[in-house]
Amino acid sequence: EAGVTQFPSHSVIEKGQTVTLRCDPISGHDNLYWYRRVMGKEIKFLLHFVKESKQDESGMPNNRFLAERTGGTYSTLKVQPAELEDSGVYFCASSQDGLAGEDTQYFGPGTRLTVL
């Protein structure tokens, strides 16, 4: 069974440009999470989808970030316009039931975003 995949693995863009990150969860997983680790700091939660609906988007830093999960399958995270402080590693995770502690979140390899 394929794990969580993310594309691209690396992205280097200039300040002010737009970047779209993609996450493909494990097939059948209704729950999809986005996290990011900025400048070697803690991994921070961004948002949580249940199927195509946003269950919790309390971690989204500002309106330059837009996440979608049309059809409840893969998800995209768009940053527009990108700023220097957006540099970091963006992780996606998925889980089947979403029950805290009873289900396992499976993480993707992450997308390393560098904004110059």
Binding site: G3, I43, V50, D56, S58, G101
Partner: protein, 115 residues
């Protein structure tokens, strides 16, 4: 707000020896779950072990075990018989006992197992 602290940014251990990684957390809630995730170099983060706060018995998974001290809000990970493949970043994480709660992660401890 919940916070997770890992006071050891880096650690090293000789192969076959035992090492303990520390984690403390802060919450006012009574029901929650704690996790240790590991991220080997250039690979995905994977779940190592989880602990349910209402269980007094410490969780174990083969060579990995935890020392959960609820009153002290401490959740350390012990790796016995360390292997070279245990070299990784180790993240302590916390989530509340609710549907779909997001993880709060610690800053991580980089563990190197030396031959």
């Amino acid at each position: 707000a919940q916070t997770v602290t890992q006071s050891q940014p880096e650690m090293s251990v000789q192969e076959a020896e035992t090492v303990t990684l520390s984690c403390t957390y802060d919450t006012s809630e009574n029901n929650y779950y704690l996790f240790w995730y590991k991220q080997p170099p250039s690979r995905q983060m994977i779940l190592v072990i989880r602990q349910e706060a209402y269980k007094q018995q410490n969780a174990t998974e083969n060579r990995f075990s935890v020392n959960f001290q609820k009153a002290a809000k401490s959740f350390s990970l012990k790796i016995s018989d360390s292997q070279l493949g245990d070299t990784a970043m180790y993240f302590c994480a916390f989530t509340l006992d609710n549907y779909g709660q997001n993880f709060v992660f610690g800053p991580g401890t980089r563990l190197s197992v030396l031959p």
